[in-house]
C-alpha cells in the first residue's frame, strides 16, 4: 500500500464527509425514549436481584386478591331462568349452531351447565366452550387430522 493510499485531498474528504456523514438533528424527547428503553434493558441484567423481593410481594398481593374474590357473592339470578332449560348437549352427529347458542344463552343467564358441556375439558364452561361447539357445528367433515 502506497503512502498515497493513506491520504486524500481535503476537498475530496470534505465532500465525502458531506455525503456520508449527514448530521441527524437532536431530539431530546427521542433521546429520553432511547435512554429509557436502554436503562430498562440495563435493569434486565440485574433483574434477578430485585425481582426476588418483588416476587414475594406480588405473591402476597395475589393472596389478598384471592381472598377477596373468594368472598365475592355469586351473580344474582333473574326470573327468566325458569323459561330456559339447557339440558345436555346432543350427540356429536346432531350438534348444530343451536347447541352453541343454548350454551351461550345459559351462560348469559348465569346457569351452571352440566360437565357434559365442557367441550374443551378445562373444568370451566365458558364462552370458549361456546366457540368450540359452534366450530364443531360448521365443520364440513369432522376431524382436522390429515
Amino acid at each position: 500500500m502506497s503512502q498515497r493510499d493513506d491520504d486524500l485531498p481535503d476537498d475530496l474528504q470534505n465532500d465525502l464527509s458531506a455525503l456520508y456523514r449527514q448530521a441527524v438533528p437532536g431530539d431530546a424527547r427521542r433521546d429520553q425514549q432511547i435512554l429509557h428503553q436502554s436503562l430498562m434493558r440495563l435493569r434486565w441484567g440485574h433483574r434477578r436481584r430485585w425481582l426476588l423481593g418483588a416476587g414475594g410481594a406480588m405473591a402476597a398481593a395475589a393472596a389478598v386478591v384471592l381472598i377477596v374474590l373468594l368472598h365475592k357473592p355469586p351473580m344474582a339470578a333473574t326470573p327468566q331462568f325458569a323459561l330456559f332449560a339447557l339440558g345436555n348437549p346432543p350427540p356429536q352427529g346432531q350438534v348444530d349452531i343451536l347447541t352453541a347458542f343454548r350454551l351461550s344463552k345459559a351462560l348469559k343467564l348465569g346457569q351452571h351447565p352440566s360437565p357434559a358441556w365442557d367441550r374443551i375439558g378445562d373444568g370451566v364452561i365458558d364462552q370458549r366452550d361456546v366457540d368450540a361447539w359452534a366450530k364443531l357445528a360448521v365443520r364440513i367433515d369432522a376431524g382436522a387430522t390429515p
Binding site: I97, F101, A137, V138, I140
Partner: protein, 148 residues
C-alpha cells in the same frame, strides 16, 4: 327500401353497440346474499349449507348480514376444502332480533368459467332458532347480488 335498409342497418349497429359492452362486462367475481325468513318469530340463530352449482366456483370470503344481530362474520369451517361449498352459522343473544326476511350473510365468490352473478346456488337450512333457542320453522334463500 333504402330507408328500411338503413333502419335495419342502424338497428343492427345499435344492437352491436349495446351487446358490445355487455360482452366485455364478464367479471369472475360476484356475491350472493343469504336470507332467512323466520316469519313473525325473531331469528336468533341459523345454520345453512351453501353450494355453488359450478364446481369451479370458489367461495373467497364470508361476510356478516345487514341486521346488527347478525352483523359479525358468521362461523364457518376455516378449512373449507370444498371450494364451492360451505357451512355457515351464527347466533345472537342481542335483545333486538330480526323478524321476517332478513339478510344474515353474504358470500363472495370467484368463478372464471361463468359469471358468479349468473351462478346457480343451492342452500339448505340446517337449523334456525328463536330467542329461547327453540327450533323454529324458517326458510332460507340465496340470491346473487348486483355487480358493483
Amino acid at each position: 327500401m333504402n330507408i328500411a335498409r338503413t333502419f335495419i342497418f342502424a338497428g343492427l349497429l345499435l344492437g352491436l353497440i349495446a351487446a358490445g359492452p355487455a360482452a366485455s362486462e364478464f367479471s369472475p367475481f360476484g356475491y350472493a346474499e343469504v336470507y332467512i325468513d323466520a316469519g313473525p318469530a325473531g331469528l336468533a340463530a341459523y345454520q345453512v349449507e351453501i353450494t355453488a352449482a359450478d364446481p369451479a366456483a370458489q367461495i373467497v370470503s364470508i361476510e356478516g348480514g345487514e341486521h346488527p344481530a347478525f352483523n359479525p362474520a358468521p362461523y364457518y369451517d376455516p378449512a373449507a376444502r370444498d371450494h364451492n361449498r360451505i357451512i355457515i352459522a351464527a347466533f345472537s343473544i342481542a335483545d333486538v332480533l330480526p323478524h321476517g326476511r332478513t339478510r344474515v350473510a353474504r358470500i363472495h365468490v370467484y368463478d372464471d368459467k361463468q359469471s358468479p352473478g349468473k351462478l346457480h346456488y343451492t342452500i339448505r337450512l340446517m337449523a334456525a332458532g328463536d330467542a329461547n333457542a327453540q327450533r323454529i320453522d324458517a326458510t332460507a334463500s340465496i340470491q346473487p347480488g348486483e355487480q358493483p
